[in-house]
Symmetry: C2
Subunit: 217 residues, 2 copies
């Protein structure tokens, strides 16, 4: 399989974890979102939305990270990324969507670019925007994880689920954006736990071949 | 079942269509998002994210519209909102997510409020923001629907799927926001087709009990 992604794309990060967990071999084609490689005509043909990730398997072209995760789950059921019971599945999907739908899309490169270039905001005002939405998303997730009995070692019980695949990149990005994460102890605990799992650790942005060397500390 | 929603919430609109199609009886509790009823302590207990919709069925509390649609699909399989084949399901979910994740969250009340109140923008600048993201989302969806052989009477084949449940509200909102929709002939055709289906027509914002009388033309 070929994954069109980018080292710092949270959406590509989610898919990399899933592929690693299911032991599905894949190659990465890096699309530099900052340089605008996603707007190339060739890429637009496979992904008309011109975003990453896209997962290509022979003639099969899959887009939108959460749709890709659901596909991977259906095509490669083991290990499962969704619990068996309907209510558990709904809980996992709901936590996932707080990040995937209501948090991450507000801070992607195209939105940041619009806020600075079209709306004329400073980097400081952009930071306040990012901090506001990431904090709101993580606050809701923390409250759910903290109150629900279903929370275990991971977001849902003691096995990694789709929710962890969404929450871990979101929390990692919060740290990248230097957002105060002290109000999210449950997420922080789950993040650290996930990072001990090689399938997650090896999927992190810093481990990608296109991660810029100058950012290495 | 009890649906916490709001007449103009696109996310609640999606769920109302699903409940109607599956013939699941439900009552609506209106949460006035503009007045901020979603921030009430009682509501926060059932939906820590303080957004609509929430679907409550006895002890069962479901949040996030797409997670609710997947739950309804699993619990009430007929009529199906997802095709049987994995690739078709991935296509339907991907189209859904272009609206649910990458378009709608950018124009919800809390974001519009932040742009006006925190960033100091005019209503005109806010309109440009809304137009930009809604147009980008619909452009991607139109391109996919126009090029794919899988597109039929509806977004995917000749039966209503989850994709229609997401695209119809998004297109309806574009018209509400007075966005030029002439570049979206395929979406427009599917929207009109869907509006001939009572389950969709009766779920539209204008048909809700909390739709403001003064907006009736």
């Amino acid at each position: 399989m070929e994954l069109y992604g980018y080292w710092r794309s949270l959406a590509a990060f989610r898919v990399r974890i899933a592929l690693n967990l299911k032991e599905i071999p894949f190659e990465v084609t890096s699309m530099d979102l900052i340089e605008g490689q996603q707007f190339n005509d060739d890429y637009r043909k496979i992904n008309p939305q011109m975003v990453v990730p896209t997962l290509v398997d022979n003639e099969t072209v899959l887009t939108q990270s959460l749709a890709i995760l659901e596909y991977i789950e259906e095509a490669y059921p083991s290990p499962a990324l969704l619990p068996k019971d309907k209510l558990g599945r709904a809980r996992v999907r709901s936590i996932s969507l707080i990040s995937v739908a209501d948090t991450h899309p507000l801070v992607v490169p195209r939105v940041r670019k619009y806020i600075v270039e079209e709306m004329g905001h400073t980097e400081e005002e952009l930071s306040a925007w990012i901090k506001n939405w990431v904090t709101k998303g993580l606050t809701a997730i923390e409250e759910i994880l903290n109150k629900d009995r279903e929370t275990g070692i991971y977001c849902h019980g003691d096995n990694i689920t789709m929710a962890d695949l969404c929450v871990v990149p979101q929390f990692g990005a919060a740290k990248l954006f230097e957002i105060d994460t002290s109000a999210f102890p449950t997420i922080s605990r789950i993040f650290e736990e996930c990072m001990t799992v090689p399938a997650v650790f090896n999927a992190r942005p810093q481990a990608q071949p296109d991660f810029p060397k100058e950012m290495d500390k």
